[in-house]
């Protein structure tokens, strides 16, 4: 038995009830394979960092469960079969993880700004005679 964390994104065009239906279905998959769900979290509709299958937003669902490797096989197979799921990720959280499933803040945060100019894509572009933008 191993602790896993599985996260998947449901298409934003899918209605609330259908999202719950998908979540219930996936819960069933975990339990059918002898896994025990510890936590489930719905982050709601969030903006994606990049476009996925033409969608700019998506509903994030996070599962945390204990189970064997075969749970992952079946779960990911079901993710692929489900058309409303556009992206998924399963990881083994390492030791020291507090297990909090806090939703990341939607704000953009403060991007790193280099004073030493080491992020010099634009410089390289201009050096080669092309415009930065």
């Amino acid at each position: 038995m191993q602790l896993y964390e599985s996260i998947f994104i449901v298409r934003p065009t899918v209605t609330e009830e259908e999202v719950t239906k998908v979540v219930e279905k996936m819960k069933g998959v975990v339990e059918k394979n002898g896994g025990t769900l510890l936590q489930t979290e719905n982050w709601g509709k969030r903006k994606l960092a990049y476009e996925v299958e033409k969608e700019k937003k998506g509903t994030y669902i996070i599962f945390r469960f204990k189970g064997d490797g075969k749970v992952i096989n079946d779960l990911e197979h079901n993710y692929r079969m489900e058309d409303s799921i556009i992206k998924f990720l399963t990881v083994k959280p390492s030791k020291g993880d507090s297990g909090t499933l806090v939703m990341p803040s939607a704000d953009e945060g403060r991007p790193f700004r280099s004073r030493s100019g080491h992020d010099r894509e634009d410089r390289r572009w201009s050096e080669s005679g092309k415009k930065a933008d």
Binding site: I7, I9, L48, A49, Y50, V52, G58, I62, K87, F88, L89, V91, P93, S94, K95, G96, D97, S98, L101, V102, P104, S105, D107, E108, G109, R110, P111, F112, R113, S114, S116, H118, D119, E121, A132, D133
Partner: protein, 76 residues
Amino acid sequence: MEKGRFTQRKKNCRFCTDKIKYVDYKDTSLLRNFVTERGKIVPRRISGNCASHQRDVGQAIKRARSIALLAFAEER
């Protein structure tokens, strides 16, 4: 004593000082401190992280990118 032009104070790994063991890929506000405006991972010599924490940060950023929490490349 004359200081060289490139003298820089020693950076300390902020994860070691904060005693953080696990870098969570879901914590985008933290990870955003370690990517450039363009979305690149900030190198260790700039971020000041110790080797093991830099690896953790890199791993977390790659996971976050894979699940669309962080962008692979930010448009300008």
